[in-house]
Amino acid sequence: MRLRPGRYADPGIYVLGSVHQPADTAEALFQAYLTGARATRFLNQETITLETPIASVDPALCTGCGNCPQVCPTLAIHMTKRDSILSLAKVDEMRCIGCGNCVVVCPVKAIALPGWDNIEIPAQISAALQSRQNGGPKIVALACEWSAFGAADMAGVHHLSYPANIRILRMNCSARFDPYHILWAFINGADGVFLGACPPGECHYGVGNLYAAERFEKLKTEMSAHGVNPRRLHLEYLTVDDGRKFAEAATKFEKEIRQLLPEEEL
């Protein structure tokens, strides 16, 4: 399963050339060189450096509430004793796979995940909402890079069209879809937020998509209780080669948002 050139969902398995899409010899050779280089680099090293971002806990902010160990898919977080009535959460770096689930559940936002940080994602969202190209509704899509982001890529490869006013942001996992960031998108003028996650049972990190679905439902409840139309938020399950489904879902969602908006806003 191709995600980006040279990156695949299953570690150690590489697919080249025409196997995943029609490619000429030059393209296939280029991919073979790239894969070969990656494999050689991996086999030659004495120590293996992890590529995944690792979560880190800020001890000054951590209040030892014990929320993060409960959601960690690899049991990489445990509580440790410190000189205080409250304990401190510690991340085992070798076990952390960087899904970002703990970052979302931390009630004091004391956990940082490089690359998908609480500062970086809102900044990306507000940047994506700065300009409006064609006067349509503004839609932010948060896409899991293991599925929906690949699907959007695939839609491009197959020359399928989907509305241009959907801004796609790459996230590491649907578990990182933070309700605060979704609300931040809405409050910065997004008319709709589209979430793309792996289908249940196919999450790269285990069950991140189930957590995402649960948070999605809760956020919808809150939105309808506060008089915000919950249809402005949409969750779609996609696999990495679902280019067509992505294009269709995105087009349908954009149409729906267009109907929700009053005429003069368009």
Partner: protein, 389 residues
């Protein structure tokens, strides 16, 4: 009206699990359903030939909102009247917090100040936490008291007030239950008066968070390979450093507090009350000398009960309490206020979607909260690992 609880407490993972909303609900439509918060029971209504879902909350006086301690959470702490180091005398000669609590309750029951006690307890057959009504001195002495395993303590409130007709009830639980009673007593709703009149005293243990009962199954049974029938008693160690399972063969298995903390209820993450700041009497080990517990009274009623126990020679007190340690601990847990501000921010952002005035406020608050303040003496580690995004 459950919708406010649903959207502002349950959806935000903010439920304290005290169960007062379930007890106070006039329609009895809230129930516990294997979840960390109550859920609304769907009841059908038959109109002619059609059956539809009954919206039971549309004609309700919102008793659950009047009772929920987490809906308006910013409680100013009640001022401490006396701070004592205490140990129990008589049959329960010990300095452990639960024994001090039992001594005070025994004294209160004997003098007739109380006719019933609602408390958290451990059910020995299943090692499950339960809420119990305790009414005789014998029962008080044999009860375990709160052991930091969660059960909705107010599940038995209706039975105590309406079925057993108790007039003078003490509630022994965690600080959140004391907050719930404080909120209940502040309510002007006359339908809640039977509860307001019946609950006379709230006692609370010092608390950093309460654990889900699955903890016993996960750690003791699965990891330590101790089956439930081997366990005679399950209790918190006197220094509160670990959970202890005392087996029938006399051996003790310790579960360190840090390990148990991985099973803390999610709702405890926003609670900043360590010293039972709304309870009439708060008891804990912190700050007391060896073999004693710290005893804080916060009201006239609490004072009266403690004096009563001292007069009956069931309690021995001194003033050797490390108040600086208490203040430091309270300040430490106050750091969870930050969690509460994040929950408030979420509500503010939702409101801001409809209200332009609140929108600007929400954006400012978002930026302010996420900018982590640099503190002197704490060095943040340099972030490494460019992901090549």
């Amino acid at each position: 009206m459950k919708t406010r609880l649903e959207s502002e407490v349950w959806a935000l993972d903010n439920c304290s699990g005290c169960g007062l909303c379930v007890a106070a609900c006039s329609k009895q439509v809230l129930k516990w359903d294997h979840s960390e918060h109550p859920v609304l029971e769907q009841r059908p209504k038959v109109v002619g030939y059609t059956k539809e879902i009954l919206d039971s909350c549309s004609f309700c006086q919102k008793f659950c909102e009047e009772a929920c301690p987490r809906l308006q959470q910013h409680w100013a702490p009640l001022e401490a009247q006396t701070i004592l180091a205490a140990s129990a005398r008589g049959p329960m000669r010990s300095g452990a917090p639960n024994d001090v609590i039992r001594a005070i309750l025994t004294a209160g029951r004997t003098t007739g100040l109380l006719d019933g006690i609602i408390m958290l307890d451990i059910e020995p057959w299943e090692l499950k936490p339960v809420a119990r009504i305790v009414s005789t001195v014998m029962e008080i002495v044999s009860a375990m008291g709160p052991q930091y395993l969660w059960a909705p303590v107010f599940d038995v409130l209706n039975e105590a007030v309406y079925i057993q007709g108790m007039k003078n009830i003490a509630v022994v639980s965690t600080p959140c239950a004391a907050q719930a009673i404080r909120k209940l007593k502040a309510s002007t709703n006359t339908r809640l008066k039977p509860y307001q009149d019946a609950v006379r005293l709230t006692m609370s243990v010092f608390c950093t968070g309460i654990y889900r009962p699955e903890m016993v199954e996960e750690i003791l049974v699965k990891r330590m390979n101790v089956s439930r029938d081997q366990v005679k008693r399950f209790q918190v160690s006197p220094d509160r450093g670990s959970m202890q399972a005392i087996l029938w063969d006399g051996t003790v298995r310790n579960i360190p507090r840090q390990q148990a903390e991985s099973y803390t209820r999610v709702g405890c993450g926003t609670c900043d009350d360590y010293l039972g700041e709304s309870a009439d009497i708060a008891v804990g080990t912190l700050g007391a000398p060896e073999g004693n517990s710290t005893l804080i009274t916060r009201s006239r009623v609490g004072d009266m009960f403690v004096r009563n126990a001292i007069q009956m020679n069931l309690l021995e007190t001194s003033h050797r309490v490390d108040e600086a340690a208490l203040a430091a601990a309270a300040a430490d847990k106050d750091r969870r206020e930050r969690a509460q501000s994040f929950k408030d921010l979420q509500i503010l952002m939702l409101d801001g979607l409809g209200d332009p005035l609140k929108r600007g406020e929400a954006i400012q608050q978002f930026a302010r909260l996420y900018r982590t303040p640099e503190r002197p003496g704490v060095k943040r580690e340099a972030r490494s690992g460019c992901t090549g995004c």
